[in-house]
C-alpha cells in the first residue's frame, strides 16, 4: 500500500488525534483553535501536493484519482475558511471547543473518504462518519438563552438523516441483489443490460436519496430550516457549505450509472425534484425573517439549480455542476462570514439586525452585498456565470421548459436577496452596536470577494479543471 495515496486523509486524521489529546486537558481549548487551523491548511497543502496521484487502496474499495483529490482540496480549503470565519467560536462553550474541532475534523474526514469510495459499504461508512459527527455538532451550541432550539434541531437532523440513510441502504440492497457486487465499477457494467428493470431504477433512485438529503434537495430538505436556525452560526456555516460539495460529487458518480438506455425514469425524477426544489426553496425564502433560515431555503433552491447540471448526464453538465457548487461554497461562505462577524455573542440574526451595516462595518456590508448579489445570479459574479453555464448546457440538451422555470426562479429569488442588501445599505444603524472585525476576518472577506469576482469573470481555468476532473469518471 502506497501511503502517499492516503496522505491528505492521514494528515487530517492526525489533526483529529491531536485535537482529541488536547480535549483531554482542561488547558487544551485555547490551543485547539490554532492547531485546528494549522492542520486544516496542512491538509489542503498535502492535497495539492498529491493532486495528481492515482491508485486504489483497501482491496479496490478506495480510489484515488484527480476527481477525488481535487474535491478533497476543495473540502479542506472549505474547512480552513470555516475555521477562520468561526475563529472566535462565539456560539460554543469554552470547555467543549477542542471536542467541537475534533468532530468538525471527523466530519470532513468522512466527506473526504466519501469522494474516494467506490464500493457501496465503504461509501456508506464514510457517509455515516461525516453525518454522525455533524449530528453531534448541532447540539453543542452554547445555550445562554435557554431556548433549547439546538436540541430540537439536532433531533430533527438525526431523525431525517436516519430515514434518508435507511432508504439509501434499502436501495443498496436492491443493487446488490440485482448484480451481486458492491463495487461501483462492476455495478456500472452489470447494471447496463438490466437498467430498464424497475428494481434497478428504484434501487438507484433510493441510493441517491442519501445524497439528496446532504444536498437538501426537496423532499429531503425538512431538516434544513430548523437545523440552520438551531445550530450555532459556525456549525451552520459548515453544514451549509462543505458537505454539499461532497454530495454533488457523489451524485455525479451515481449519475454516471443512469446514463444507460432505460435510465430515463431517474432523469425524470431528477427533473421533477429540481423544479420542486427551486420553487419551494425560493418561495419559502421570500417570507423568512431569520437570515440563516432564509439562506437555508435559498440553499434548497440552489440544490435545484445544481441538479440542472447533473440531470443532463454529460461531461459538460457534470463539470458545470462542480463549477456551480464550488462557486456556491464561496458565495455562501461570504454570507456566513458576515453573519458570524455581526452576531455579537453568537446568537441568531434577524435580517433587521443587519440594519445600517454600511456604517457599522463598510467591508462586511460590501461582502454581504457581493455574496447576496452573487447568490441571486447578477453578473459579474460567479453566481451568474454558473447559472448561465447550467442553463446553456440544459438548453443544449433540450430541457427548454426546465430552463424557463429556472430563469423564472431567478426572478423570484432576487427579492429576498435584495431585501438583505437593502437593510444593510439603506437603514440607519441607530440602536445597533458597532461591529468589531478582526484583521484575519477582513483578509478572508476580501479574499472571498476576489474569488467570487474572479470566478465570475474568468471561469475558463476553473471549468477546465472541473472538466478534466469529471473526465476521470466517464
Amino acid at each position: 500500500m502506497n501511503i502517499m495515496l492516503f496522505a491528505p486523509e492521514l494528515f487530517l486524521l492526525t489533526g483529529a488525534l491531536v485535537l482529541f489529546l488536547l480535549s483531554l486537558s482542561p488547558a487544551g481549548a485555547g490551543r485547539a483553535r490554532t492547531t485546528a487551523l494549522v492542520f486544516a491548511i496542512g491538509t489542503m497543502v498535502s492535497g495539492l501536493v498529491f493532486l495528481n496521484f492515482e491508485g486504489t487502496l483497501f482491496y479496490n474499495a478506495y480510489q484515488i484519482d484527480f476527481f477525488s483529490q481535487l474535491i478533497k482540496v476543495i473540502l479542506a480549503a472549505g474547512l480552513a475558511v470555516v475555521l477562520l470565519i468561526g475563529r472566535k467560536l462565539k456560539g460554543i462553550a469554552d470547555e467543549v471547543r477542542a471536542e467541537y474541532y475534533l468532530f468538525l475534523f471527523m466530519s470532513t474526514l468522512g466527506l473526504m473518504m466519501l469522494v474516494s469510495s467506490v464500493e457501496l459499504l465503504t461509501l456508506f461508512i464514510a457517509l455515516e462518519l461525516s453525518s454522525y459527527s455533524l449530528y453531534l455538532l448541532v447540539p453543542m451550541r452554547d445555550d445562554r438563552a435557554g431556548s433549547r432550539l439546538q436540541m430540537e434541531a439536532a433531533v430533527k437532523y438525526i431523525l431525517f438523516g436516519v430515514v434518508a440513510t435507511g432508504i439509501m441502504l434499502f436501495g443498496m440492497s436492491y443493487l446488490f441483489g440485482l448484480t451481486g457486487t458492491t463495487y461501483l465499477g462492476e455495478l456500472l457494467t452489470r447494471l447496463q443490460p438490466i437498467m430498464a428493470q424497475p428494481a434497478a431504477i428504484v434501487g438507484l433512485a433510493m441510493v441517491m436519496c442519501g445524497f439528496f438529503y446532504k444536498l437538501a434537495v426537496f423532499p429531503f430538505h425538512f431538516w434544513v430550516p430548523d437545523v440552520y436556525q438551531g445550530a450555532s452560526n459556525e456549525t451552520t456555516t459548515f453544514i451549509a457549505s462543505v458537505p454539499k460539495i461532497a454530495a454533488v460529487a457523489l451524485l455525479i458518480r451515481m449519475a454516471t450509472m443512469i446514463a444507460a438506455p432505460g435510465g430515463w425514469p431517474v432523469v425524470n425524477l431528477l427533473v421533477v425534484l429540481s423544479v420542486l426544489s427551486m420553487f419551494y426553496g425560493n418561495l419559502a425564502a421570500l417570507v423568512q425573517k431569520d437570515i440563516k433560515r432564509m439562506l437555508g431555503f435559498s440553499g434548497i433552491a440552489h440544490a435545484g439549480y445544481v441538479l440542472l447540471g447533473i440531470l443532463t448526464l454529460g461531461q459538460a453538465g457534470y463539470a458545470t455542476a462542480m463549477y456551480y457548487i464550488t462557486g456556491y461554497l464561496v458565495m455562501n461562505l461570504a454570507c456566513f462570514l458576515v453573519i458570524c462577524a455581526v452576531s455579537p455573542k453568537g446568537e441568531n440574526l434577524q435580517i433587521d439586525d443587519l440594519s445600517g451595516l454600511h456604517q457599522r462595518s463598510p467591508l462586511l456590508a460590501l461582502t454581504l452585498a457581493v455574496g447576496m448579489f452573487a447568490l441571486a445570479g447578477i453578473p459579474p459574479f460567479v453566481g451568474f456565470m454558473g447559472k448561465f453555464m447550467l442553463l446553456a448546457n440544459a438548453l443544449n440538451e433540450g430541457y427548454l421548459t426546465l430552463v424557463i422555470l429556472a430563469a423564472i426562479n431567478t426572478a423570484i429569488s432576487i427579492f429576498y436577496y435584495l431585501s438583505v442588501v437593502r437593510v444593510a445599505y439603506t437603514t440607519s444603524p441607530e440602536g445597533y452596536p458597532a461591529v468589531q472585525v478582526a484583521p484575519a476576518t477582513k483578509l478572508v472577506s476580501v479574499l472571498l470577494m476576489l474569488v467570487i469576482i474572479a470566478m465570475g469573470i474568468l471561469p475558463t481555468p476553473v471549468l477546465e479543471i472541473a472538466t478534466s476532473a469529471v473526465r476521470v469518471l466517464l
Binding site: 454600511h358 452585498a369 448579489f373 447578477i378 453578473p379 459579474p380 451568474f384 448561465f388 453555464m389 442553463l391 446553456a392 438548453l395 443544449n396 427548454l400 430552463v403 424557463i404 430563469a407 423564472i408 431567478t410 426572478a411 432576487i414 427579492f415 435584495l418 431585501s419 437593502r422 445599505y425 439603506t426 471561469p459 475558463t460 471549468l463 477546465e464
Partner: protein, 508 residues
C-alpha cells in the same frame, strides 16, 4: 471577423469602459468628500475627452463596426470580448460620456451624505452603460446590462426620496424579471445558430425559422419594452424617477431608457426580421398608446418630476414609433430623438433638482412665480421646455419631425394618431412654464431664493448648447447615421407574404 474593423492603435473603447472602473476603485482610497467629488469630475471629464476622437475618426462610409477590439474570453462556449461601434451606437456612447461630468456637477451639493459611495456608483454606472452600447457579444452585453442594476438600485435606494424602498425594489424587480427570459433567448440563439456563436453581428441574417424568431422576439421585446418603458410596462418609471436623486433621474432618463430602444435596433430588427414584421403593427399601436397616455397623465401631474417622468413615456413612444415604421426617416428620427430626449429630459431633471435643493419641494404650486426671483433659471427652463415640446429651432423638433415624416410615409392613420401627442406635449409643458415663471396673484412667498450659481450654469449650459446646435444644424449628427441605418433596413428587408398581410389588416 468581417463585420469588424479592428482598431490597431490605442484601444479607445476598452479605455472608455475601464477608465471609470479604475477611477471607482481608486476612489475608495480618497479621503474627504470634496476630494471624492473632484476626483470623480476629473475621471468623467477625461473619459468624455477620450470619447471625442471616436467622432472625429469615425468613418462615415461604412456600416461595419469600427474601433473594434476582439479577444477570446471563454473559448469553450465561443464567448468573446468583442467591442465595436457603428452609427447607431456612436451618438449614444458620446451622450453617455458627455453627460456624466454634468451628473457629477449636478450632484455637487445635492448629495451630502455618503458622497464617496455615491460617486463610486456613478462611475460603475458609466462603465456598465458604455459596455452595453459597445458590446458586440451577447454574453458580454448581458453582463453589462445586468451589472448596471446594482449601482442604479443603490442610487435610488440609498440617496432617494421618502418612498425610495418601494421605488428601488420595483425598479429592480421589473427590470430583472424582464431580462431573465432575455438570457434564455440568448442561449437559444446560440444553440440555433450555425456555427454556434454569441457574436451579435454573426447572428444577424442567420435565417432562423419564423416560429423561433417569434419566441426570441417576444423574449427580447419583454426585456426592452420594460426598459424603454413602453406602455403598459411603464409603471416602474414614475416611481423610480420621482424617488431617485437628481443624478439618478438624469442617468435613468437620458441613458438607461435608451438601452431599451437601442436593444430594439441592435437585436430585434436585424436578428429577428420576420418577427419584427409580424409584431410591427402591435408595437406601433402600443407606441401611440404610450404617446397619448403619457401626454394625458403628464397634464394632470402636480409633482414636477412626475410630470417630466410621464412626458418621458410619451417621448419614448415617439422613439419606438420611429423605429418600427421601418423606414430611414423614421429610424434616423428615432435615434436622433433618443439623443434629444437624453439632452432635454436630462436638463429638465437637473432644473427640477436645482429648485428642489432650494425649496425641498417638487410641487408645482409651491414654485409658482419663481421667474421673478430666479430669472436665469427660468430662462434655461424655458428653453428646455420648448425643446421638450418640439418647438421649431430646438433639437426635438428635428427628431419628432423626422419620426412623423417616416410615420406618414408608412401609414397616415397611425401617424395621425401621434399628432395629438405633440399637442399634448405643448399643453403640459406650457402649463409647467406658465406656473413656474408667472404663476398667479396667489403665489407663495419666494423671498430669499437665490438664482443659479456658476456651477449650476456650467451644468446646464452645455445641454442648452446641444439643444440649439441639433435644432439649427442637425446634419453633423444625422450624417453618422445614414450608412448604418440603411444597412439595418436592408437587413430587415420587407419580406413578402404572410407577415405583411397581417400588418395590412392591423393598420388600415
Amino acid at each position: 471577423m468581417d463585420f469588424l474593423i479592428l482598431n490597431n492603435g490605442f484601444p479607445y473603447l476598452s479605455a472608455l469602459i475601464f477608465l471609470p472602473l479604475i477611477g471607482a476603485l481608486l476612489l475608495l482610497a480618497m479621503p474627504g468628500d470634496n476630494a471624492c467629488r473632484n476626483w470623480t469630475l476629473i475621471v468623467t471629464v477625461v473619459t468624455a475627452l477620450l470619447s471625442l476622437p471616436l467622432y472625429w475618426n469615425f468613418d462615415l462610409t461604412t456600416h461595419l463596426y469600427q474601433f473594434g477590439e476582439h479577444h477570446v474570453w471563454i473559448p469553450g462556449l465561443n464567448i468573446n470580448y468583442t467591442l465595436g461601434i457603428d452609427g447607431i451606437s456612436l451618438l449614444l456612447v458620446l451622450l453617455t460620456t458627455l453627460l456624466m461630468p454634468l451628473c457629477v456637477l449636478g450632484s455637487w451639493r445635492y448629495i451630502e451624505k455618503r458622497v464617496k459611495e455615491f460617486m463610486v456608483c456613478l462611475l460603475l454606472m458609466e462603465t456598465s452603460m458604455l459596455g452595453v452600447f459597445m458590446a458586440l457579444d451577447l454574453v458580454l452585453f448581458y453582463v453589462f446590462w445586468e451589472a448596471m442594476l446594482i449601482p442604479m438600485y443603490l442610487l435610488i435606494a440609498v440617496w432617494g426620496g421618502p418612498r425610495k424602498t418601494y421605488a428601488s425594489i420595483k425598479f429592480f424587480l421589473y427590470t430583472l424579471a424582464g431580462s431573465v427570459l432575455l438570457l434564455v433567448a440568448i442561449i437559444a440563439l446560440y444553440l440555433n445558430s450555425a456555427p454556434h456563436t454569441f457574436s451579435i453581428p454573426q447572428l444577424m441574417g442567420q435565417g432562423f425559422s419564423t416560429t423561433f424568431q417569434l419566441w426570441v422576439f417576444l423574449a427580447f421585446f419583454l426585456a426592452f419594452a420594460i426598459k424603454v418603458p413602453m406602455f403598459p410596462f411603464h409603471t416602474w418609471l414614475p416611481a423610480a424617477h420621482v424617488e431617485a436623486p437628481t443624478a439618478g433621474s438624469v442617468i435613468l432618463a437620458s441613458v438607461l431608457l435608451k438601452m431599451g430602444t437601442y436593444g430594439f435596433l441592435r437585436f430585434c430588427l436585424p436578428i429577428t426580421p420576420a418577427a419584427t414584421m409580424t409584431f410591427m403593427p402591435y408595437i406601433l399601436w402600443l407606441s401611440i398608446a404610450g404617446i397619448l397616455y403619457g401626454g394625458f397623465t403628464a397634464l394632470a401631474q402636480q409633482d414636477m418630476k412626475k410630470l417630466i417622468a410621464y412626458s418621458s413615456v410619451g417621448h419614448m413612444g415617439f422613439v419606438t414609433l420611429g423605429i418600427f415604421v421601418l423606414n430611414s426617416q423614421g429610424i434616423e428620427g428615432a435615434i436622433l430623438q433618443m439623443i434629444n430626449h437624453g439632452i432635454t429630459t436630462g436638463a429638465l431633471f437637473f432644473c427640477v433638482g436645482m429648485v428642489y435643493e432650494r425649496t425641498h419641494s417638487r410641487e408645482l404650486s409651491r414654485h409658482a412665480g419663481i421667474g421673478k426671483y430666479m430669472p436665469v433659471y427660468v430662462t434655461f427652463l424655458a428653453f428646455f421646455s420648448l425643446s421638450s415640446l418640439a418647438f421649431p429651432g430646438t433639437n426635438s423638433f428635428v427628431g419628432e419631425f423626422l419620426v412623423l415624416v417616416g410615420g406618414f410615409a408608412k401609414n397616415k392613420v397611425v401617424a395621425a394618431f401621434a399628432i395629438p401627442g405633440a399637442v399634448l406635449a405643448a399643453a403640459y409643458m406650457f402649463r409647467l412654464l406658465q406656473r413656474v415663471i408667472w404663476g398667479s396673484p396667489q403665489n407663495p412667498d419666494h423671498t430669499g431664493l437665490v438664482d443659479l450659481n456658476t456651477r449650476e450654469i456650467v451644468t446646464l449650459a452645455p445641454l442648452l448648447f446641444f439643444v440649439l446646435w441639433i435644432g439649427l444644424s442637425p446634419e453633423p449628427f444625422l450624417k453618422v447615421l445614414h450608412v448604418s441605418v440603411n444597412h439595418l433596413l436592408t437587413q430587415v428587408g420587407t419580406l413578402p407574404g404572410g407577415p405583411m398581410a397581417v400588418a395590412k389588416l392591423m393598420i388600415p
